[in-house]
Structure formats: structure tokens, C-alpha cells
Symmetry: C2
Subunit: 425 residues, 2 copies
């Protein structure tokens, strides 16, 4: 039996996927039993560096989702619509679905997986997080014996590239962003990447897989990298840290602690040396301990590797003629209780500018102490335009307490401003 | 339906496996459908820190492999026999088999997987390589779309622990080994670890999975770490390298290049910073690029995590009532053609002791040149007991050519000895 595949979208990842399907030699032998029957695109006659069988291209995306000859629909359109509608249509028409679309899964996962379970079909999404890194399937299968408590990592290549270059060159965010756009590492509208939305989509998906509950995308605390300055990167380095955009999810006794933000990572931590466009995801649990999976987080090749891996998994399920497979399907019911921002605890890095006069450090210490914010260090680290620049690293404290202390501090006569506030891993 | 599990062996990993099966809350819900029906041990009345249902323990291992009520047999005895016989018996009696036994798979894999295919059952072995790191399943599934060309890594925790401590303390092999034995990081008989046999078993398994062909264990070129000295570690560091015991397999045009040996790894390479008992495996292919998976390579918890992950996979297959699953089963037919040692190319590090007299470096250069061994650097790096200590790093060259050059060099009047010869990544 030949398993017919329908592809929605022929952008970078779509073209990479079609290229693998058209050139199966030397890969898993099951690829020989797959046939790319239809490819849905917006423009039929756009020039493409890819040879497809004649008649495969169509602009009728809906017809691919409903074609009774097609067994597996691969959604690589990105964005929420029409991706959501086409995925639901494909499931209703009895197809397994493979997608690399983190946004549609993070925002409409509950609806999509409910429909998949009702239809007795799978929605596989290895390519949605971490590009070529195998992480979705290990969370669903090989790591399933664990009580996982942590999943975190660097899941956005664009921001990691920008932060890596800022650190290497001592350059500021705006200049590096512009250069990254010129080189194709950042989009013309970089919002989804630099404001952390893409990373928030991905950590919502990872947390849901790791902890076995649905996660509302809007409950992810999300802060991007626009506020990271060359100054902070330099000070962090002097204190033994690098600044990374981390996506973090912890299963806490009081609920799910889930967030995306720039983070001071100790230089010896394995995530500190993940540079450039690479991604890395760290999974912690009992009795596993910690594993870290690192690799190319985006790009045609790596993401197509993940997408075709999922197509193979779907084809294998078809080939085996199996009933509903409990490790491939989603068995989540409720939504996770997430912690509100004020109750999320972490260490913090605070950079302050104040009048350069005796007693300031004492006044700061008093304000922190009043709100039970315990300090790891407080250092006058430099001068800037006649003002003293003071860097504080706190012990672990709730965000709410820290904000209350900073409110008192902002009212101090000597204080000029609080230019930076970041979390510390 | 409850799926009955029979466990062979109740050592560290066996006890860890039983502990997870006895405490399923907060893990994958499928664990609730598993029941540990029988545990085969050598001594019934040995004290154990584990509460098992009464009547579960037995010394009749064979009865577990043949019990018609048991669906999944978990072999955690280690070693070749009786593991091999019991695995074959379990397959003949229609059970899926889970094992963490690298030796029996590396030496008897062809026989075992042939029997599994004939019986329509699976032999799963995530725990055999890399402890808790998900690597076997990704190679079989998520990475299956790729043409893999490289799989390499640090797959033996004992030797990595010894080399890490030697590097950190400037200590010699014998002293660190003794201390590692005292602390329980090395066995009383450390041969399988320090001579590279364990790593050779594992790379034979990984290469077979990555390249889709059977690999004869005896064709793995294998060299342990007994010859690594504190001197070499110090010189390597000065040249920008750390010394690691790497297991490497490359799919070359002329055949499989597979070996285990101490290796100078550039300090910036991701494997260079994998320290202590951690393992890490790097997989390279097209269109994936490279991914690296790192984590605890041994120990009760991590290995039990992998073993129970496989039990879940087997139970899911039973639950789904499926036919034979092409990604879980082994579809290898032939054996890989492996390259003989003389034809294996790599860079080399050679340390030589010679009379401290002018012209020696010229004579060495001439000998290397005569055998077309091109040099990256040749440095008189120090003195030892009145002799000049010279370190040579070659460009990539066949082992045969290098040996021919060294034969000429050993015949030089000024040469005292060639204390060290290692490969460079």
C-alpha cells in the first residue's frame, strides 16, 4: 500500500519536506511507501527550485484536506487561519495531521486535539518546537515514565542569534537587529520573535506535553529582549552570567510557573554555551535527573527532518493498521492552574542609577529588607553621566514582593532611575 | 486490560524499574494499566529496600520468560548468558522484550532481532545506551527522515568521570581509578569500562540504528584510556583540547568507520564540556545538520526512566492492538562493511621524546613527509629528564600511513621513544 500525502504550503519548510519525500534513498525504508499527491500553494506559477510531478500543485487548499485518497495532511502554512480550519477539516475527513505550526497548536490546541481524539486520528507536531531537535516525541514516549518538573530552554533562534552577537560584539540591540534582518536571521516585522511570542507558543506546547495538562497560551508570562542593553550584557558577564531569552516551565506545588523572559544564566550552566541560531531544551524529572537536547532550531532542513519524521510515524501507524495509540494521541483533559505573575518566584538582577552620595546603598538595602527581599549582592559597578550605577542580585523572591520594594526605591530622593530588571536563573 | 510485566533481575536498574511501576501517580496514565507480575532474582531472601507484592519474587527465571500471563519481559540481568537465552525464550513465547543490556544486543543482536521479527514482537532497548537520554527511539523514529552520516559521543560515564577528574586535578590515571572505585564510580574489575568495551558495545548499537545495517561488534576498533597520562592532558589543554573517550561512527563512501578511543576534542566543541558521569551523543545527517543529546548516562533512576519508557511503548502497542509496527521493529538485513584500521583516517596527536639536539625537528618532518603525513603543527613543548619533548599534530591521514611514518621515526638515532599517540577530532 502507498500512503498518500497532501502538503499545505510550499515555503521553506514545505519545500524541504517535498525534497525529502522526492528523494527517499538512504533514509528510512518506509519513505519508499509515501507519495506526495498534492501540494497546496497560493500562486501556481511562482518560480520554484523544486521538481514536482505535474498536476500536483493546486490553489484549492480545502480540496487537499478533504481528498478521500489522501491519508496524511501536512500543514506548513503557519499562522492561525486558514491553518486551524484546514486541520479540523482534515481530521473530520479521517486524515492524520502533521504540522510545524506552533501558533495554531498553542492557541487552538484544545480544539484541535479534541477533534483528533473524536476522529481517532493523530496530530503530530515535532517540527513545531526546536526545529530538528527530537523533543516532542521523547516527551510523549521515551520520557513518559518520569514525573517531570521542569522543561526550559532556548527555543527561538532569532533572539539567540541577536543576543549572541550583542555579547560577542558589545553591540546594542537595534544595530544587531537591523543586521540580522539584512542577513535573513530576523523577519522584516520581528515582533513575534523579539517580543517572545514565538517562544511563548513553544513553551506552552512543551509544558503541556511535559506535565500532561492543557496550557492556556495567554497565561504564559512573556517579556521579549528589546530592553536588553549592551551595558547589561557587559555587567552580567562581569558577574559570571550570560543573558539568554529563556522559556521556562516548572510544575510547582501551587501550580504551573510558565514564562518567557531574558535571563541571566550562570556561565557554567549548559544553556549558557548555546549560541547563534541553535536551540536547546532541558528536561528535568524524577527519576530521570536532567537531559538537554541541542540542535538547529529552525531552517528548511532541520524542520523538514522533524516533519518527515512525523509523516513516518503516521505512516507507520497506518501500515500497522493499529487502533488508537495511547502514546501518539493526546490524553489531556483539564487545563493547568497557572501561577499569576506576582507569585512567580525567581532571583532578580536590578540595575539602578542614583546620585553618587554616601548612604545610598544603605537606603536601598533598607527598602529591599522592608519587603523581605533578601540580597545576594549589591555592587556599585560603575558611573554613567555623573551618576552611580548600582547592580543588585537578589535571592529568590516573588515578583510581587520585588515590585513593592522597587516602588519604595523609586521614591528615594537620591534615585534617578531603574533602567534594567531581569531574572536570574 | 492490565498488561502484565515480568522482570528479570533486581539490581540497581531493576529496583529502579520496579519502584516506578509501583508508584505510577503523576507519570504517564498508561502506567496505571501495568502490573508487575513476577521478578526473577538469584536469591529470594536478600534484604531489599523495596516493597513488592508477596509471591512476586522467584528464582525460576525461565518461568518468567514462558509464563503465558506475561505480556512484556524486561531483561535487566546484564551480560551475555543467561540473558540471551531468556530473551529468545520470551520472544518464542510471544512476549515483547525490553532490555538495557548493551552487551547482549551488541554481540547477539542479529540473532535476537531475527527472532523478534519471526515472532512479530519487539525488542526495545532505550536503556542500553545513554542511560536516561532518549537516543534509541529518536534514531528509530523522529530522525528517520535523514540520511545520517555521523553518530558519536561520550557513552561511558566511568571513563568520562576519570578523565574529568584527571583534567581537573592534574592527577594520573591509576590514582583516579582507585579513588573512583572507592566512590563507586568504577567497578572492582574496571576492564569493560576503561578498556572501551562498554563504549564499543554502545557505538555498535548506535551505528546500526543510525545507518540501518547490522554491525559486527568485533569490527569496532577499540582503545581504552589506560594510556592517557596527566602529561598528555596538560599538553592537550595548552594546544586547546580536552581528552575524552569518544565512540565514533561515520558512514563513509568506502564503508563504516567505527571506533572507540581517547580523542583530543577542541575546547569549543560541544562534547568538550560534557563532564563527570554525564553522557552525550551527537547525531549528524542530511537535512538535519547536527543535534546533541546530553544527560545522565547511567544510574538506577535515569536507566529505569528509559526502561519504563520502553515498557510504555510496548504496552501502547498492545493497547492499540496493532499489527507489526515498522518503526518499532528492526528492518536491517545485511551487515555493514567496516573499514579496516589501516584505512581509518583522522588527525593524530603524537608525543615524542628525543635527544635535545639541533636538526631533530627537521628529521621528524622528513619522516612524516616521506609517508605523505601532512602536519598541522610540530612543537617542542618541554623537557623531561634531559630529553626534548615534542608534540606533533597531523592533518587527516590514514592510520596505516601514520604507522609507517612512525616506524621510520622510531629508527632515528636521536629518538628515545613515542610515549603517546592519540587521535584528534
Amino acid at each position: 500500500m502507498i500512503w498518500q500525502v497532501g502538503l499545505l504550503g510550499l515555503g521553506t519548510v514545505g519545500a524541504g519536506t517535498a525534497a525529502i519525500l522526492g528523494d527517499p534513498a538512504g533514509r528510512h525504508p518506509l519513505l519508499e511507501k509515501l507519495h506526495l499527491r498534492a501540494v497546496g500553494v497560493r500562486h501556481l506559477h511562482k518560480p520554484r527550485h523544486l521538481s514536482l510531478e505535474p498536476g500536483v500543485l493546486t490553489t484549492h487548499l480545502e480540496s487537499i484536506a478533504t481528498d478521500p485518497e489522501i491519508h496524511i495532511v501536512v500543514e506548513l502554512l503557519g499562522g492561525l487561519e486558514p491553518a486551524r480550519t484546514l486541520i479540523l477539516a482534515a481530521l473530520q475527513h479521517g486524515k492524520h495531521v502533521v504540522t510545524a505550526n506552533k501558533a495554531v497548536i498553542a492557541h487552538h490546541g484544545a480544539e484541535i486535539f479534541t477533534a483528533a481524539t473524536a476522529a481517532g486520528r493523530y496530530v503530530l507536531m515535532e517540527g513545531a518546537v526546536g526545529g530538528g531537535i527530537p523533543i516532542v516525541q521523547p516527551l510523549k514516549q521515551a520520557l513518559g515514565a518520569n514525573r517531570l518538573h521542569t522543561v526550559m530552554g532556548i527555543v527561538n533562534g532569532t533572539t539567540n542569534y541577536i543576543l549572541t552577537r550583542m555579547a560577542q560584539e558589545g553591540a546594542d540591540f537595534a544595530a544587531v537587529l537591523q543586521d540580522a534582518q539584512r542577513l535573513g536571521y530576523a523577519e522584516a516585522d520581528p515582533t513575534a520573535d523579539v517580543d517572545g511570542w514565538d517562544a511563548a507558543d513553544k513553551i506552552a506546547i512543551l509544558a503541556s506535553l511535559a506535565f500532561g495538562e492543557r496550557v492556556k497560551r495567554e497565561s504564559v508570562v512573556c517579556e521579549g529582549i528589546r530592553a536588553v542593553t549592551a551595558t547589561d550584557i557587559a555587567y552580567a558577564e562581569r558577574l559570571g552570567y550570560v543573558i539568554k531569552l529563556l522559556a521556562l516551565a516548572y510544575q510547582r506545588p501551587a501550580g504551573l510557573d510558565i514564562r518567557v523572559h531574558p535571563t541571566l544564566v550562570p556561565q557554567a550552566h549548559p544553556l549558557a554555551s548555546v549560541n547563534g541560531v541553535n536551540n536547546a531544551i532541558l528536561v528535568g524529572g524524577d527519576p530521570l535527573g536532567e537531559v538537554m537536547l541541542e540542535g538547529p532550531g529552525a531552517g528548511a532542513g532541520p524542520t523538514a527532518s522533524a516533519v518527515v519524521g512525523d509523516i513516518l510515524t503516521a505512516a507507520a501507524a497506518l501500515e500497522a493498521g493499529l487502533g488508537f495509540h495511547p502514546l501518539l494521541s493526546c490524553n489531556h483533559e483539564g487545563f493547568a492552574e497557572t501561577l499569576p505573575l506576582a507569585q512567580i518566584a525567581s532571583r532578580f538582577y536590578v540595575r539602578l542609577l542614583s546620585q553618587d552620595q554616601p548612604g545610598v546603598i544603605g537606603q536601598l538595602g533598607t527598602c529591599f529588607g522592608r519587603h523581605a527581599v533578601s540580597l545576594e549582592s549589591i555592587v556599585q559597578i560603575g558611573h554613567q553621566e555623573g551618576l552611580a550605577e548600582i547592580v543588585v542580585i537578589t535571592h529568590e523572591v516573588n515578583h510581587g514582593q520585588l515590585q513593592a520594594a522597587l516602588e519604595d526605591i523609586r521614591a528615594l530622593a537620591a534615585l534617578q532611575s531603574v533602567p534594567s530588571l531581569f531574572r536570574v536563573l
